[in-house]
Every structure is written in structure tokens, then in C-alpha cells.
């Protein structure tokens, strides 16, 4: 699919070895520059802690609404709580658009190692701090929010100034034409080799662009929309997103979409060579997978 005809010359441009013995001695390709590596790992720490402290904050009022307020005669569209079943046993309940689901062990109510149960929207291992502690969770959240925002601004500036954005992230016309093929490749877990492995593939590019320029700014903006002071910036700007409680809902949904991205991202990292990928994000050096030799 990817310019296989040019394999020998492409490889020659990269290293001195022939494809046949490439696996053992192929030189490492410098894939990620230092600023990107540093900002990537700062982001990992910041987003992880923002997510986990955010869940702890959610525990203070585990219900989400659409609109300006929570008390507008429209019920919460999502609510997580502990209740009792017909036998009087405690259960965890998740209510979505008015429909109730027993989510004991997943949401609302959990069993501890000692046989006791505890009620919480999310299990303690998912939250920072472990236990419900709103003031402390807010402290973590806003501290790492600053780190995340400053890091993000540095990244945007760097990615534009260094042309990382235009060279590596912006999809080319060829990329976009190959989108169908790329989807098929991903579904078959077939990954680029040789020269093609040195670049992001088109789905990767589009996903990164979507996360960097849509999802992350959205989650920040919805955080701002929940701030009574930042709401005063322009009268009514929060209404563009449906009001403060809508913004809180969107903040929550966007955070989980980020988790979805991270799961897929880590999955791809693992199946395309965990150590090789990890090294390239630590030292910058990536061992280019050898091209399969065929016609």
C-alpha cells in the first residue's frame, strides 16, 4: 500500500544496512525531538491527575444536567448513587436519561477487600485523593490545570514554530486519499514498516489533531465555563455551550473521550512495539520496523 517499490532506496537513505538483516542492526531513527518528549510526559502526568482529581470533585454532586442550572424542573440526565434492592441489599445505581441500571461494583457501590461495601460514584482507585475530599481534590485539579494549560500553550507554540504541525501532523492530500486503506490496515493490525513507519499515518494525524485542537481546548474551555469569575469575561459566553450545567456535562464527557483516546493510543503503542515506542518517547530513538520483502 505504501510506496513499496522504493523500499531499497528509502532504506538506503536511512541506514547502511540491507533490509534482510535490518531487525538486528538497523540504526535508530530520531523520531521525537526533546521538547515534544518533555511536553508529552508532562501532559501524561497532568492529564492523569486532572482526570482522577476531577472524578473526586464529581463525587461531591454525582449528577449532570443540561442548561444553566441544576434545578430547572428538568431532571439530571446522569446520576450515580447507592440504593437498596428489593431484598434490602445495598446496590449501586446509575440513572441515564431516566433509566436505572444496577451498576454495583462498577459505579455507585463497591465491595472492599474486607467484605464491607462503600458507596461512591467511582471506585477509590480511580480518584485523587482516594477518599472523597472535595477541597483537596480541587487543589490538585487547579494546580495541574495550570501545568496542563501552560504546557499546552508551549506545545502549540513549539509545534507551529518548529513546523512540527505543518510537516508531521497536517495530513497531505495523499494521506487523505489513503484514509480508507488506513482504516483497513488498522482493523487488521497491519502497521507501516520501513520509510512509512517514520511518519504518522493518516488516522494518527487526524486523531492527534482532533485531540490537540478540539478535545483538549474544549475540556479547558468547559472548565473555564464552570468558573463564576471567568464567566464574566463576555456576558453570556457560557450560553454558547448551553449554560454552566451543560458545560459541566461537556467537561465530563470530553474527559471520558480523552480516556478513550488514551486507551486506543496505549493499545496501539503496545501492539506496534511497546519498548520501541516507549524508547522513542524517552530518548527520541526509534527502530524502524523492517519492510517485508515482497514484490
Amino acid at each position: 500500500m505504501v510506496s513499496e517499490a522504493q523500499v531499497p532506496s528509502a532504506d538506503a537513505a536511512v541506514g547502511e544496512t540491507s533490509p534482510a538483516v535490518a531487525t538486528a542492526t538497523e540504526p535508530l531513527f530520531y523520531r521525537h525531538r526533546l521538547p515534544v518528549r518533555i511536553m508529552h510526559w508532562i501532559n501524561v502526568v497532568a492529564i492523569t491527575l486532572l482526570f482522577m482529581s476531577g472524578l473526586n470533585i464529581f463525587e461531591a454532586h454525582p449528577a449532570l444536567y443540561w442548561g444553566q442550572s441544576s434545578y430547572s424542573q428538568r431532571p439530571a440526565w446522569l446520576q450515580i448513587y447507592a440504593d437498596e434492592n428489593a431484598n434490602g441489599e445495598p446496590i449501586g445505581v446509575t440513572q441515564v436519561f431516566g433509566r436505572e441500571f444496577n451498576t454495583t461494583g462498577f459505579l455507585g457501590l463497591f465491595h472492599r477487600g474486607d467484605g464491607m461495601v462503600y458507596s461512591a460514584a467511582f471506585p477509590t482507585w480511580m480518584t485523587v485523593p482516594d477518599s472523597r475530599w472535595l477541597s483537596m481534590a480541587r487543589s490538585w485539579h487547579f494546580f495541574f490545570a495550570w501545568i496542563f494549560v501552560i504546557n499546552g500553550l508551549c506545545y502549540i507554540a513549539y509545534t507551529i514554530a518548529s513546523r512540527h504541525l505543518s510537516r508531521d501532523l497536517a495530513p497531505t492530500r495523499d494521506d487523505l486519499r489513503g484514509i480508507g486503506g488506513s482504516i483497513v490496515d488498522h482493523l487488521r493490525f497491519r502497521h507501516p514498516k520501513g520509510e512509512a513507519a517514520k511518519r504518522y499515518n493518516v488516522l494518527q494525524k487526524l486523531t492527534y489533531l482532533l485531540v490537540i485542537f478540539v478535545l483538549l481546548p474544549l475540556v479547558i474551555l468547559m472548565g473555564f465555563a464552570m468558573s463564576p469569575r471567568l464567566d464574566t469575561l463576555f456576558t453570556g459566553w457560557v450560553d454558547l455551550f448551553g449554560g454552566r450545567q451543560s458545560a459541566r456535562s461537556i467537561h465530563f464527557i470530553a474527559a471520558w473521550l480523552l480516556v478513550l483516546f488514551v486507551l486506543v493510543h496505549v493499545f496501539e503503542v503496545i501492539i506496534t512495539g511497546l519498548w520501541n515506542n516507549l524508547r522513542s518517547m524517552i530518548t527520541g530513538r526509534y527502530r524502524v520496523p523492517a519492510e517485508e520483502v515482497h514484490g
Binding site: Q68, F143, L233, L274
Partner: protein, 257 residues
Amino acid sequence: MADRSGSRRRFLSRIAGALGAAALGGCEKLSESAWFPKVLGSAEKLNRIVMPAVTGRKAMAQEFTDADLSPTFRSNGTSQPASDVYKALAADGFADWKLEVGGLVERPRTFTLEEIKALPSRTQITRHDCVEGWSAIGKWKGARLSHLLDVVGVKPAARYVVFHCADPMEPDGTSPYYESIDLDDARHEQTLLAYELNGAALPVPNGAPLRLRVERQLGYKMAKYLMRLELVESFETINGGSGGYWEDQGYQWYTGI
């Protein structure tokens, strides 16, 4: 080669696992340490400087229409102060209630409810945002705090207004609620000493006879059951020293977010 990279991988994944566990278990320890919450708290100081700078000192909170009003305005925290003094005042319809204003002011004095109602008033429909995450919309009428401050005359050294309340926060009747705001917020056009909610006298669950509205901050700043206002240079010597009941329990003093 394959073995070596296999064991290296195992080694690395073990290290990663250990680091992850340490990192997560560590969050609890860090939260309980003396120093780390102070590091985290630096963000609050930044918020306190940056947010007013970005939005402007006089920026107005959004106001809504009658159609947006929450059918009932939720009462949170104290809904019935368990203090004999307060109960006696309430039994009398707050006829004997007086607001004491003192501290760093030129003319310390008390105000009856009628005197407060005689000050220039403002009516506003605003959204009340609780630190827990919920919001409710209510229509408030009250005296602008700024006018009351002009009546008593604020001394140049004063930096904060402290609000002392009638509701004890401990079951034994101690620890009355209190709060504090800076003079920028105190002088703000929407900062009211409110005596009406949704066109009726302020109900007891919502802070009768007088409560604070500070529309650019979270709900717990808006002290209910006001008894005394005190202008101070610093709140470090008052109660826990953090400027409010919840602040003394570790909550942020600045709640613009």
C-alpha cells in the same frame, strides 16, 4: 537476544507498575503531608491574581430573566441555625435583629433591617454556583454593600470585609459560620446584603434576615444569617486564620473557580 529483550521488557514493565502504584498511593500521602498542599495552593494564588486581571475588576456576572428562575431555591449548609440568640430573633420576626459594623471603619455602628432596606438597593437574577457542582438561579434584592461601607467610612488600612454569622457549625453550638472577601468584591456593583429572594422576604433556610451575595464567587462565600461585619487588614488572627469556616477546613479562600 530475544530472551534479553524479554527480561528487559519484564523488568521495565515491573518498574512502570511500581512507579504507577507509588505515584497513585503517593497522592494520598502527599495530600496528608504538611508541605504538598501548600505547593498545590500556589495555584489558588495565581487564580486570585490572574482571573480578575483577565476579566477586569468590575466585570459583571451574567444576569438572567424571570423565566430562568429555579422553582425553589435550594438551601445548603445550615437551613435552621441552632442558636438560642438566633431562634429568639427569628421568633420575633427579626424586629430586634441588628447588623453590627465595626473594625477598621471611621464610624462603627449598628443597622436595623429597616435602615438596611433604606439604603440604595439592587435587584438581580443570578446563578448561584455551589462548590459541589450544582447551580440554582434566584432573584435577589438587597442593599449594595458598597453603599453601606460608604456610610461607615472604610479606613485606608482595611483590606477585607469579614462576615460573622449566627449559625453555629458545631453540634455544641460553637464555631459560628464566617467568611471574608476583599474590597474589590465588596465594592462590586452586584455585591449585595440581600433581604429578599424571589420577591419575598428572605426565608430562614436561605439566610434570613440578611445574607451576602458575591456573584463572581462560589456559594460558600455568600454567608447567611449575617450578624456582624468587620473590616480588617488581615484575617490571620480570626478563628482558624484562613478567612472563613470552610477555608479553615482546607477549602480555597478565592473561589472565582
